[in-house]
Amino acid sequence: MNKPNQVEDLFRKQFQDFEPKPSQGLWSAIEQQLSFKSFFKFALSSMNIYYAAAIVVSLVGVSILGWDKLQTETPADTPISNPSQQEIPLQPESNQAIPSINPNTYTNENTTSISTADATQAIQPADQTPISLNKQESTLSNEPQNQMDNLAVLNQSSATTSDEQSDLHQPIEEASSSIAAASNSLADNNIDKKTIAAEHSITLADIPEAPSGTGTSNRSVPEPPQVNLPSSTTLPDAPHESTNPLLTNAIGQHFFLSILEKRTTNGIPLIPYNVSNVPARATDKAPRLYGWNRRYSPWSFDLSTQPSSYAFLYQSDDPILENALNIASQNGRSFNLELTVNYQYREWLFQSGIAWTGMQEDFNFLHQELITSTQESWDVYAAGTETLTDTLYWGFVFDSLASAYYYQPYTADSSITVYDSTLVVENTTSVEEQLYQHLNQYHYLEIPIHVNRNVLNIPFGLSHNGFLHVSLRAGARFGFFIKAQGLTLHRDPELGLLELENPDLPYLFSRIHLDFGVPLQVPMSPTLHLLFEPTYRMSVHSIFGKGHDVQVSQRGPGLKIGLRYFILRRK
C-alpha cells in the first residue's frame, strides 16, 4: 500500500542515527587550522606561549638593533656627496686639530743637568700635586687638545726639575690660559719652544698632567680628547667605544631564557614543564621531527632571519695565507632573510635554499691619547752630544673587501740624548690621532647548504605537548654580491686632509663555513614551529674581485629567528 510520506519517512528514519566514523587525519587538519587561526587572533584571555614568544622575538630584535644603534653612529649619516677621491683641506679654525707634534723635536735645556737622585726628588712632589684628573679634563675639554697635550710632553722634564714647586697650587685656569696662549703662538708662528716657554713663563704648575711614578710603570691614561671636524661633516663625538656584541646578544638571550624560566617554573599552570632526556619519537602530537612519521612529509620549509651580527675577521690578501694574518674587530649590522627547504632522513636534516643578506660594515676610529710611561736619567761621564731616536709603531693593517685600512693606536718613541756629562733616556709612548671611517655595504644572495644532526629532544609541556628540539648543524654557503658599495673617509692627521674614497668592490665570492648552530624548535602547532637558533660561524671566504682575497672570519654569536613549516601528509 502506498503512503504519501513513505519516501520521506524512509530517509528520515534511516538517517536519524547515521553516524559514520570520520577519518583519523580529520582532527589533525582541524587542529592545524585552529592553531593557525588562534595564533593570529590576539586576545588577552588566551594569552599563551605564542604571544610570549612573539614578544620575546620582538624584544630580541629591537634590543639587537637598538643596542647597535645606540653604540654606533652610522657613518651613513655623514653627508658626503663626493664619490670620487679627493682631498678636502681643513679650515684653519682655532678649534680644529692641528698636525701632531713630535715631542722629541722640542728639547729643553733644563733636562741636561740632573742626577738620578734629583730627578727622583723632583718627580715625587709632582705625583702629589693636588690636581684632580676630573678637573684637568674639564679644563682641557675647552682647549685645542693637540697643542696642550704636546706641550704637556714638552714640559715634563722642565716640570720635574723646576724649583718652583709652589706653582703647583696655582689655579688650573691660569695654567690653561698660559698654555692656550702658548699653543696659539706655536700654531700660528711655529716658533721654538724655548721662546714660548720664555714668553709665557710656563712652569711646572702650568702643566695639568704631571708625570707620576718612576721606572717602567705606566700612568693612567687620560680620556681621549675631542677632535673637531668641519661642521659639514658629522662624525662620532667620541672614540668608538667597544660595542660588545656578546653583551648585546646576551641581553636578548638572557631575556628570552628568563621569560622562559619564569613561565615554566613559576608561571602559568597551563604550561607544565618537565625536562627529561628521551629519545625522539613520532606521535600524532609530535610531528615529523627526527623520526619517521607517516603522517608527515619529510619535507618542510624554514623562513628565518638573523637581524644582526658581529664579526671578527682574520684575513689576508694572500690566497695562500703566507702573510701574517691581520686581525680586526668589525662592527657589522646585517639583515638576513633565508628561505630554506628541508629534507629529513631519520636523525639528519638536510637544508638548502636561498638567502639574501644586506650587510653594513662600519669602522670608526677617532683616537688621540698621550701617555708618558717612563722617564729616567742618570749621570754619565762622557763628553759631547748625541741623540738617537727610534720610533716603533704598533698597530694593524686591515684590508677589507674594498680597500686597505691601517690603524696605529700606539707609537713608542725612544730617544737617547747625551748632553755633556748627563745621559737622559726617555721612553715616551704616545698615540697619534687617527681618524678613519670605513663603510661597506653589501647585498648578496647565497645558497646555503646545511646538514643538521639531532642531538636532543626535550619534552616541553606546551598546550600542544610539543618538544624542544636541539640539533647541531654545519654547512657551506656559496653566492655572489648583487650590490656592493664602499665608502671610506680618512683624515690624515699630518696633513690635515680629509680623503674620500669610493672603491670598487668585488662581486663574486664563495665561502665555506662551519656553523655552530643550535636550532631550538618550539612547536606552535603540529605543523608550525618557532625557530630560535643561537649561531656561531667560522668561515673561510674566497673572494674574487680585482684580485683574489682569502678571508678567515668568525661571526657571532648571533640569534637566528624563524618559522619552520612541516607539511602534513593527509591520508
Partner: protein, 195 residues
C-alpha cells in the same frame, strides 16, 4: 564526564582538549549530515572540517535556544550549501528537462529494507540542486520558502525540484528493490549426474 556548558565554555577559551572532546562527541553525527549534502566522503570531510572551524569560532554566539547538536547541524548544512553554491558557478549543469521523461508519477511502496549506504548513494546520485532541496525538505523539515531563501532560488523552483527529486528517488529505490528481491542464481549450473 564534562557537562555540555562547561565544554562550550572551555571551547570558547580555545581549550584544545575541550575542542577535541566536542569533536569526538559530535563529529560522527555531523559527518552523517555532511555526507548527505556532498557527492563523496572526501567532500563530506572537507565540509565538516570547515564547519568545525566555524563552530569553534562562533560558539560564543550559541544562545542555547536549540540543542547544540541542532545548532551545529545547521552550520554543517550551511557550510555544505555554501560549498555547493560556490561550485555551482563552475559545475556542469544537467539539463533537467532531459530527466522529465524518465520520471514516474505513481507512488510506490517498498517491500525490502535499504541500508544507509544504499540510501546515501541514491541521494548522491541526484543532481546537486535536487539533492540539497530533497535533504532540506524531506529530512531536515525546512519549508520551501526557507529552502528558496537558503539556495537563492524561487519557491516554485524549490517545489518543482523537490517533486522531481522525489520521483527520481522512487525510481532508483524501485530499481534497487527489484535487484535485491531477485533470487540468487548460481553462476554455474550444477552438473546433472548421468543416469
Amino acid at each position: 564526564m564534562i557537562s555540555e556548558k562547561k565544554l562550550i565554555k572551555a571551547c570558547i577559551h580555545y581549550d584544545r582538549k575541550a575542542q577535541r572532546e566536542l569533536y569526538n562527541q559530535y563529529a560522527p553525527a555531523l559527518l552523517g549530515v555532511s555526507m548527505r549534502y556532498t557527492k563523496n566522503s572526501q567532500q563530506a570531510e572537507d565540509v565538516l572540517q570547515d564547519a568545525f572551524i566555524k563552530i569553534f569560532a562562533s560558539l560564543k554566539q550559541f544562545e542555547g535556544k536549540s540543542s547544540l547538536k541542532t545548532w551545529m547541524e545547521r552550520i554543517v548544512i550551511n557550510t555544505a550549501l555554501s560549498a555547493y553554491q560556490k561550485d555551482r558557478k563552475h559545475a556542469f549543469h544537467e539539463d533537467v528537462s532531459t530527466l522529465d521523461h524518465t520520471l514516474t508519477d505513481e507512488e510506490v511502496s517498498f517491500e525490502v529494507s535499504f541500508t544507509e549506504e544504499e540510501l546515501l548513494n541514491v541521494i548522491r546520485a541526484l543532481p546537486e540542486g535536487y539533492q540539497a532541496v530533497f535533504n532540506l525538505y524531506a529530512i531536515e523539515g525546512y519549508k520551501h520558502r526557507e529552502i528558496a531563501e537558503l539556495l537563492g532560488i524561487d519557491t516554485n523552483t524549490s517545489k518543482s525540484q523537490y517533486s522531481r527529486a522525489r520521483k527520481l528517488i522512487q525510481e532508483k529505490l524501485l530499481a534497487l528493490s527489484e535487484i535485491k528481491s531477485v533470487d540468487i542464481i548460481p553462476l554455474y549450473p550444477t552438473k546433472k549426474k548421468l543416469s
